[in-house]
Symmetry: C2
Subunit: 208 residues, 2 copies
């Protein structure tokens, strides 16, 4: 048998979790994830990028207006998880999604559904440098040094992540494990762009 290290013999299996259950309460004009940008619903942008990255499985957590969301997601090779408690906040969706992960994954990319500029290239840069054996366990994308999303997490942190509540956010979890964090500087600011308001959406449309 050829001499391989365990990590080279079996490349990391990386799942993705897309959090898409929220109510867009700051948007003020209906469900932002259903609003069109470049002719596609906002939700389709990030899901398309993740699926194109060949992460597997891709789990999408929905809640608010789930029937319309399902329509948008038809045809994508994803696992749908319905969070009945979505009014309880992002942490409830995170937990439901984490609970749906297979046992044999090595890491999971946590994606916010309202980040339409993310592409498979950004994800590939983040995943490509993941290497727990070298201590690179939590991958954080940056642009001009400013940290953004999505963040890639080694499986060892998932139970802690599942205990996150409003008062202990994912940012604090990154801070707690700073020795395991690696940053990947990106060629553009996509990792900093999220859509909270109609003005954000207009700005994102202009930048494209």
């Amino acid at each position: 048998m050829p001499k391989h290290t365990a990590s080279r013999a079996s490349p990391a299996r990386i799942a993705a979790l897309v959090l898409a259950a929220g109510r867009s309460s700051r948007f003020g004009r209906g469900n932002k994830l259903l609003v069109a940008l470049d002719g596609r619903p906002l939700l389709a942008h990030v899901v398309g990028a993740v699926v194109a990255s060949r992460l597997e499985p891709v789990i999408v957590v929905i809640g608010h207006e789930s029937e319309q969301m399902k329509q948008v997601l038809k045809g994508y090779d994803i696992v749908l998880v319905h969070n009945r408690d979505y009014t309880g906040g992002l942490s409830t969706s995170l937990r439901r999604g984490l609970a749906a992960l297979p046992q044999d994954i090595d890491a999971v990319l946590i994606c916010l559904a309202d980040m339409p500029a993310i592409t498979a290239d950004h994800i590939g840069r983040l995943v490509g440098r993941f290497d727990p054996a070298q201590g690179r366990c939590i991958g954080v994308p940056t642009y001009h040094g400013k940290r953004g999303n999505p963040v890639l997490w080694d499986k060892r942190f998932l139970l802690e992540m599942s205990a996150i509540t409003g008062d202990i956010g994912a940012r604090e979890l990154v801070a707690t494990h700073t020795d395991f964090v690696y940053e990947v500087e990106m060629p553009d600011r996509a990792v900093l762009i999220d859509i909270d308001t109609p003005a954000d959406l207009a700005a994102a449309a202009r930048e494209r």
Copy 2:
């Protein structure tokens, strides 16, 4: 080197989680876990049994009246976890406790703090038959066939457990994974005895 299977070469490392953060709302006479039974606070009974079982680590989640609880727990070799959200229910304590587990455990015994008749013998019978390689992953104690507590869980189920809310309880989680469940019939009814009311406490005192 002697021929061993992996499981024999390295025996399972099993942690314990004692849920002791609640408000005893059904008890009606203060904090039931601080009430004396056989000269010791109720809390000391289950914690003493778990520590005597040599499970490691023993994590005790406290919340309500945490200062008095800490006094009771002085001198025990345990890890204290404080759940600030204990009014949010048992599931919040479960999550905080699970998040505090070390990476290298194989399983965790989930113990309710209000079960004073549990001894190291009950725990030993449950732990002794744990064998994931044989499909015995979720150990449930019974008496005359009726299922009780504590329940022993292989680590593979912990993320699902962490997503439990009021509407999806641990009982449903056992039902979901029925193929992995093994039952251990106990010599007495300790695994069915919990203290909710002063009448329960009086009955438990009479039985001793």
